[in-house]
């Protein structure tokens, strides 16, 4: 069991590919995506047709989490509906998710 950070980002569906690109660039090896609906301070959504929110969970080391959060914060936080947070998780055979 390794202690990692579960980084969760919930935001507009249109952000999906951009957020995954950020993950990839930070060397992240995997993620899980679920569809979500949501309300927030901005309440922005391009359209029904583009779909509701997307939630991306990824298990990463603390440093990777912080680096991703910083980039996401700078690039998307001002203009996009997005929330991001981390939770501490004990991961089975977690060393394979360290990058």
């Amino acid at each position: 069991m390794t202690t990692l950070q579960k980084l969760t980002m919930v935001g507009e569906r249109l952000l999906r590919d951009q957020l995954l690109d950020v993950l990839r660039r930070h060397g992240v090896s995997g993620w899980t995506i679920t569809l979500a609906e949501g309300e927030g301070s901005r309440g922005v959504r391009a359209s029904e047709w583009a779909g509701r929110n997307v939630q991306i969970d990824t298990l990463v080391s603390r440093e990777t989490a912080d680096a991703i959060l910083e980039e996401v914060s700078e690039r998307f936080f001002e203009d996009w509906a997005l929330i991001a947070y981390t939770v501490e998780a004990r991961v089975l055979r977690g060393d394979k998710y360290l990058s």
């Binding site: 507009e12 249109l14 391009a46 359209s47 047709w49 583009a50 779909g51 509701r52 203009d79």
Partner: protein, 317 residues
């Protein structure tokens, strides 16, 4: 007057009203998202196939002028929408460009509702009109985004990719190509699915559009009367322009009316995603409420019969 009433009593319009009413009654009615997206895919592909199979048997000469007019409309309407929004709507450049992108593009459902209304009134649009919908969808968005220029904090490249490879364009253009290549003969086997069932499927779709519009109605208060009025005048102006252009392009009465509805309509499928990406600072509550909350119901209820009336007047004179 009678045409107006007749238009309002069509199942398609009534289903839209049912959606609005359900929202106002706070009913839990909703079309599940996957079903809604499945219906969209079906409708777009069906339109494409129909237009494509018409192109397969149409003479190029017949289509060339209307297609050119469509491109022209795709350039004129975003320009006029931008200046009107800037000047009379008192929006800033970014928001004006965002709104212009929507009015420069076309609302597929308005096109469909217009086609149906025209048919019920005993007229008929040209079979190749759906192909013009595909032509009209993109250029207006690009022209409008050019206005935003340096305001565009988002990525131009991504926005273009978003429009060009967005599912609505892929399905419309893909359907067109398939329809053209396969031709009416080979499409016969798929007609019961794509043609006979079409209007009914549109009704279900309209319920969800009504629910979405109902949600937008609440935003009208924040939008302000000024914008709401513009959201009614703009389609009238563009629509009338469209009817005239369609008539000049040699379209029939029904065709010119539908063409007017296309030009007068505001996109809420292709445009919003592109605008969101290119102009993330623009206010979605503003452009979506105008396009979906004001102009769409306006056209559905009032615009379409007026455009048909105008087309009749022009062509009989």
């Amino acid at each position: 007057m009678e045409a107006l009433a007749d238009n309002l009593l069509s199942p398609v319009v009534l289903c839209f009203a049912l959606g609005i009413a359900a929202r106002l009654l706070r009913s839990d009615l909703s079309i599940p998202e996957p079903v809604y997206q499945g219906l969209s895919i079906y409708l777009l592909l069906a339109i494409g196939l129909k237009g494509g199979s018409a192109l397969a048997v149409a003479s190029p000469a017949e289509v060339a002028l209307p297609a050119a007019m469509t491109l022209l409309a795709g350039v004129l309407t975003p320009v006029s929408a931008f200046y009107i929004m800037r000047r009379f709507g008192r929006l800033d450049a970014t928001d004006s460009a965002a709104v212009a992108a929507h009015y420069g593009s076309v609302s597929v459902v308005t096109f469909l509702a217009a086609g149906e209304a025209v048919r019920r009134a005993g007229h008929a649009g040209e079979d190749f009109l759906p192909a013009l919908v595909a032509v009209l969808e993109v250029p207006g968005i690009i022209v409008a985004l050019l206005f935003a220029g340096s305001q565009a904090s988002g990525s131009w490249k991504r926005a273009l990719h978003e429009v060009a490879t967005g599912k609505s364009i892929v399905l419309l253009a893909g359907g067109l190509l398939i329809g053209m290549v396969a031709g009416p003969g080979r499409l016969e086997g798929v007609q019961p699915f794509f043609t006979s069932a079409f209007q009914g499927a549109l009704c279900l779709f309209m319920i969800e559009l009504g629910l979405a519009t109902g949600r937008r109605l609440r935003d009208l208060r924040h939008t302000g009367a000024r914008l709401v009025v513009l959201g009614c005048l703009l389609p009238l102006f563009h629509g009338a322009l469209g009817v005239v252009m369609g008539t000049l392009a040699g379209l029939s009465t029904g065709g010119a009316a539908v063409f007017g509805a296309m030009v007068g309509s505001a996109s809420y499928i292709a445009a919003p995603a592109a605008v969101r990406v290119a102009l993330p600072k623009a206010n979605p509550a503003c452009y979506l409420t105008l396009a979906l909350g004001v102009t769409f119901p306006f056209n559905l209820a009032i615009g379409v019969p007026l455009f048909l009336k105008l087309a009749s007047l022009l062509q009989n004179s």
